[in-house]
């Protein structure tokens, strides 16, 4: 079972956007991975979830994103208790409020890169066409604009992860969750990804990154250590 230590690195003001209270969860009955986690994450904060493997970094990420229901405790996103929402409401809230960067990018292998980036707009109930200029702008800013019409099999791992970040940032989310976003990247690609996440935080988003990478931890404004 993990212990949680919150280490603030920089001061953040304003009402917390993500509030977790007494979160407990495990994958096997009576074996909690997380027990009694409390968090307050404010706009502009870049939080690193760190700790050895198996201590629940990704699990905490999924709980905060509403992908898992805690055994006990609550998660509030912009004041909304995720536990009180039905699946459809929670999914819509996630689509409109959250961005997700997966450890393995998980792009649709059958679609163009641009269509993959536009995917969150569909779930948020917006016509994807309206978001094409922003998607192209994000791809441009991440240096992968030339791949907009390519298929996932035609891009490198580093390019794919940058594309995953574009997808996560498309809807200008208030909260960005990233699970080991630089795990398999070279230095330049990792820097590009972190710059983009920093940019989102500067615009007021909460960025939560589960990571082992010290480069990432060093750039975060606070750290949650699961040990």
């Amino acid at each position: 079972m993990a212990e949680t230590v919150v280490v603030p690195v920089a001061e953040h003001t304003g009402a917390p956007r993500v509030v977790a209270r007494d979160l407990t969860y495990g994958y096997r009955r009576d074996v909690p991975v997380l027990d009694g986690v409390d968090l307050d994450l404010r706009p502009g904060e870049v939080v690193a979830l760190t700790g050895p493997s198996g201590r629940g970094k990704s699990t905490l990420l999924y709980l905060l994103a509403g992908l898992l229901r805690p055994w006990s405790g609550t998660v509030r996103l912009d004041g909304v208790d995720l536990g009180e929402l039905a699946d459809a409401e929670r999914s819509l809230l996630r689509a409109r409020t959250c961005g997700f960067v997966f450890q393995d990018v998980v792009l649709d292998p059958r679609r163009r890169i641009l269509d993959s980036v536009l995917e969150p707009a569909r779930y948020a109930g917006h016509p994807p066409k309206r978001w094409v200029p922003r998607a192209l702008g994000l791809l441009e800013s991440m240096g992968v604009a030339l791949q907009a019409d390519a298929r996932p099999g035609e891009v490198s791992g580093g390019q794919a992860q940058r594309i995953g970040v574009c997808r996560a940032l498309l809807m200008e989310p208030g909260v960005v969750f990233a699970d080991e976003p630089t795990g398999n990247l070279d230095h330049a690609s990792a820097e590009a990804v972190l710059d983009a996440l920093d940019g989102a935080a500067r615009r007021g988003a909460v960025v939560v990154i589960a990571t082992h990478d010290d480069r990432v931890v060093d750039r975060c404004t606070s750290r949650v250590v699961l040990s």
């Binding site: 409109r96 997700f100 969150p120």
Partner: protein, 363 residues
């Protein structure tokens, strides 16, 4: 997701998953094609059975004065012929024997006197002509051979000394057509029987009632009606049996198709588990995932079913000159889509219920 977005996504997925789309659509198309072809073939068989039992011999009814009470008036054929359901009628005397007048000793053959419009009798002349008067006769080929009368003609006489010149020979057109030696009616004796040919098999019952109403019947046993009821019943039975088997085959084909579609759908959902996990993580609700799987199935299967219906109609026309009723085709396509959707629901629900975290952690 909005319904239009789900449809758009479903269409994109259908295009992207070409192998499954071809399998789904192809299977639905093959099922519909098979059912349409079966339907066309059954229609052709039904039509062929109907035509077979629509032949004149099955439309012919014989009213017999079996107790010789004279219940059949001599003018009955002309009166019956005026009925709208009757195509022709003739009356016949009781059979009597004739022999070849040119031979001292010879075989004998049966003969009948007929009251009829001779030109409309169901017989085909093989030589000579029809009688012009009461002293002329025609002989069927079998009786001519038995009596020793050749195509050059001859004459026949009975034991009462009546004689008739044989002016032609014929073959009966069917089993219930007049046969033997036929001579025009003479005298005032009431006919022994009246034969009536209805316009169609469906008119036979009405024809029997109408014709019987013209007879001077006083009791239920005065008149015997001979008709091909057994043949008609057999025809109906054959049609019913063909239809029943068709229904069984259609149900089997549809059932097997639904089963295979359900299994294919499960396979598809399993192969796309990572995709559904990603969609869920990015904000797609369970309902959207279920709708996506079902809508993709509906689009592909509907296309396949329509193509199968079109191909089946074309082949059915080419093979049996049968067009299946368009409303039946539409119902078949709708039923196929409905059944296919119901077959997909379990796998769609499974896709919706799949834990996205488990998928993402094991991707």
């Amino acid at each position: 997701m909005r319904p239009a977005a789900i449809l758009g996504e479903a269409w994109s997925s259908a295009l992207a998953s070409r192998a499954f789309s071809i399998l789904f659509g192809g299977l639905a198309g093959a099922v519909v094609l098979a059912v349409v072809l079966l339907t066309a073939q059954v229609q052709a068989q039904r039509e062929s059975v109907r035509v077979a039992f629509e032949r004149e011999q099955f439309r012919t009814v014989v009213l017999v004065d079996n107790q010789d009470k004279g219940v059949l008036p001599p003018e009955m054929p002309s009166r019956v012929s005026s009925l709208s359901t009757v195509t022709r009628a003739w009356s016949s005397s009781e059979a009597f024997e004739v022999s070849n007048g040119s031979l001292a000793e010879g075989a004998r053959a049966s003969a009948h006197m007929l009251e009829a419009d001779w030109s409309r009798l169901p017989i085909t002349l093989t030589s000579g002509r029809l009688p012009n008067g009461p002293d002329e006769a025609v002989v069927d080929d079998g009786s001519a051979a038995a009596l020793g009368i050749d195509s050059t003609g001859g004459w026949v006489h009975d034991d009462l000394g009546r004689a008739w010149s044989v002016v032609g020979s014929f073959v009966p057109d069917h089993e219930r057509a007049p046969r033997s030696v036929l001579v025009p009616w003479s005298g005032t004796t009431p006919p022994r029987s009246v034969t009536v040919v209805a316009g169609s098999a469906a008119d036979v019952d009405a024809t029997v009632s109408s014709a019987a109403g013209l007879a001077d019947v006083t009791g239920p046993t005065d008149l015997t009606v001979e008709r091909s009821t057994d043949a008609a019943a057999i025809g109906g039975d054959v049609r019913s049996t063909v239809e029943a088997w068709a229904v069984v085959i259609v149900a089997t084909v549809m059932g097997a198709g639904v089963l295979v579609l359900g299994l294919l759908s499960l396979l598809m959902v399993h192969s796309r588990r990572q995709e559904f996990g990603r969609r869920r993580a990015l904000g797609a609700g369970r309902g959207a995932i279920v709708g996506l799987v079902v809508a993709q199935g509906v689009l592909v299967i509907a296309l396949g079913a329509v193509a199968g219906a079109a191909a089946g109609s074309a082949v059915g026309w080419a093979l049996w000159a049968q067009l299946v009723d368009p409303s039946l085709l539409a119902a078949l396509v709708v039923a196929t889509v409905a059944l296919a959707v119901s077959a997909q629901v379990p796998s769609a629900v499974l896709a919706g219920l799949r834990d996205p975290v488990r998928v993402l952690r094991t991707a």
